[in-house]
Symmetry: C2
DNA sequence: CGGAGAGGTTGATCTGCATCAAGGCAGGAA
DNA sequence: TTCCTGCCTTGATGCAGATCAACCTCTCCG
C-alpha cells in the first residue's frame, strides 16, 4: 500500500498572452459566461502556458497564487499521504477550471498526463474582475456545485463499491464524458444510453486509474481482463477501451448483476 | 456489505415564517453575508421547519424544490446503491447550507440524527433574490469551495487510509469542528493543536460512522476499543469520546506511527 | 537491429477488514 | 420490577483485494 514516488519539480514554459476570443476551450469553460466585450478584458489577465506530460504544475500546499483553466490535454489531480500513498481526486481536461479553494494554499497537486495547454490567471487580479462580472461568479458556483455532486458520487464509489463496480463506473463515466471531447459537430444531448460499441480513450496509466479508484494496479489490470473475457469490453491497446454494451456495464456499476 | 434499510417517509412539521434577524445560526451561515436590511428581505422567503430525529427530509432523486439552512441539530447526508449499501457523504449541523446542486433533482438524501430546526427556501424564489445580492452568491461559492476541499480529503480517506487512520481522522476532524459548536465566547482561531483532553460528542450511531468512513459497525467498534486500550481516548459513553492526546491522534490520521 | 526501461499482465500467497454469530447494556413500556 | 428493543461490543471465521514475484510488451534511442 505504501509506495514512495519521486516529486518532479514545477517548471513551466510561459508562452504568450492569451487570445481568449479565439479560444477553442471557451465553449466548454466558465469563460463562456462572458460576452465578447468582457472576454477582451479577461484576455488581458490570462497567460497561456504549456506543460509537458509528467510535469507537476500545482504542488499541494504551495501558496495558491493562480487560477487555471485547461484548454488542451489532461491532468490528474491528487492528494498525498506522508508515506507516498496517493489518491487521485479527479482528471481535468479541456474546459476544467482549477484552484477554487478559499484557502491560501492549494489543497491538491496537479500533474499533466498528456501535453497540456493551460490558461493561467493571477488569483488576486481575477478576483477583482470577478466582482465586475457576476455572471462569471455565478458560472463558477455552478461548476463548483457540479464538482460537489461528482465528489459525492466518487465517495460512494470509494466507500462502498467492489473493484468490479469501480471499474465499470469508471468506464461508464468516461463514456458519458465523450461527446464533449470529440463530437463538436452534433449538438445531441449526450447519447449516454447507447448500446453499440463505444470507443473510450484512457490517457492515464493503470497506476493512475488505481489511485483514482482506490485499488492497486494489479486489481485494475485483472478486472479489465475479466471484463474482456466476459465480452463486456475489448482492449485494442492499453490506452484504449471499446465498450461493447454500455447499458450492461452501467448496470454493473450500481451493483446489478 | 449489502444490507437493506427501511425508507422512512418524508414528513415535516411546518412551523412559522422565519425571524432571520434573531437567528442563532446566522453567524455561522451564508446569511451572514447580508446586512440587516437585506436580511429582512430574505426573512420573507424563509420557512422554519422542525424535523424529528430519524426523519428523512431530503429524498435522493426527488425534485429539488428547496434550499435548506440548518439552524439546530444534526443531519446525515447520504447516497444509496440499489441493494441498500449506503455512503454517508457528510454531516450537516448549525450553519450548513444544503441543496447546492445545479440539477433539478437532489443528488443525495438527508436524515436527521438529532431533532433539527431547518430554514427552508423555495429554490426558484431564492434564485431571484440571489441575483440581487451578489454578496450572498459569493459567500455560497466560498461554502462550495470549502466543501469541495473537504470532499477531496474524504476521498483520500476512503481510497487510501486504513481503518485506524480513518477513525483517527474522524475524531480529529470532530475535535477541530468543536469551537464552532460550543465555544461562542472565545474568538480564538480554533485550538487544533491542543494537547490536553478534549471532549467530542458523537450524536450519530456506530452504523452512521461506519457508513461515513466506508467501514462496518464492528470495525468501528473494535478500532475505538483499541484506541481506548492504547490510552489514546476514553469512552465515557457510546456517544461521547474524550481525546487524551490530539496531536498523537492527528499523527495517526496521516499514517505516522 | 538490439537493449533498456517503463508500463502492463498474470500467478501465488497473504492479510485487513467483512461477515457470521453470540451476548451485553441501557432506556422505555407495561 | 421485568421484558423488550435498539445499539454496541466481542469473538471466530472467511474472502476480496493487497502484496510479492515473475514475465511480457511495447517504445524509444543508440
Amino acid at each position: 500500500m505504501a509506495q514512495l514516488r519521486a516529486r518532479p519539480m514545477v517548471v513551466e514554459a510561459v508562452r504568450t498572452t492569451a487570445p481568449c476570443a479565439g479560444c477553442e476551450a471557451r465553449p466548454f469553460s466558465v469563460c463562456n459566461a462572458l460576452d465578447l466585450r468582457d472576454i477582451e478584458r479577461l484576455s488581458s489577465l490570462a497567460v497561456i502556458i504549456s506543460v509537458d506530460a509528467g510535469r507537476t504544475f500545482i504542488e499541494e500546499g504551495d501558496p495558491a497564487e493562480f487560477f487555471f483553466n485547461v484548454t488542451a490535454g489532461t491532468a490528474k489531480l491528487f492528494k498525498l499521504l506522508p508515506d507516498g500513498r496517493r489518491q487521485i481526486t479527479g482528471f481535468a481536461s479541456m474546459g476544467t477550471f482549477l484552484g477554487l479553494a478559499v484557502s491560501s494554499t492549494y489543497a491538491f497537486g496537479a500533474e499533466a498526463v498528456e501535453p497540456m495547454h493551460i490558461c493561467r490567471f493571477s488569483r488576486t487580479r481575477l478576483r477583482v474582475v470577478l466582482d465586475e462580472f457576476p455572471a462569471m461568479e455565478k458560472r463558477l458556483l455552478e461548476v463548483a456545485s457540479n464538482e460537489l455532486v461528482a465528489a459525492q458520487e466518487q465517495m460512494l464509489l470509494l466507500g462502498r463499491k467492489t473493484a468490479r463496480e469501480r471499474l465499470a463506473s469508471f468506464l461508464v463515466s468516461r463514456a458519458a464524458a465523450l461527446p464533449a471531447q470529440d463530437t463538436l459537430l452534433a449538438d445531441s444531448p449526450a447519447p449516454i444510453d447507447r448500446h453499440g460499441p463505444l470507443r473510450v480513450s484512457l490517457p492515464m496509466t493503470r497506476s493512475d486509474i488505481a489511485d483514482y479508484l482506490g485499488l492497486t494496479i494489479e486489481t485494475v489490470s485483472r478486472t479489465l481482463t475479466r471484463f474482456k473475457t466476459e465480452r463486456l469490453i475489448e482492449i485494442p491497446s492499453a490506452s484504449e477501451i471499446l465498450i461493447r454494451d454500455l447499458a450492461l456495464l452501467a448496470g454493473l456499476s450500481t451493483g446489478m448483476r
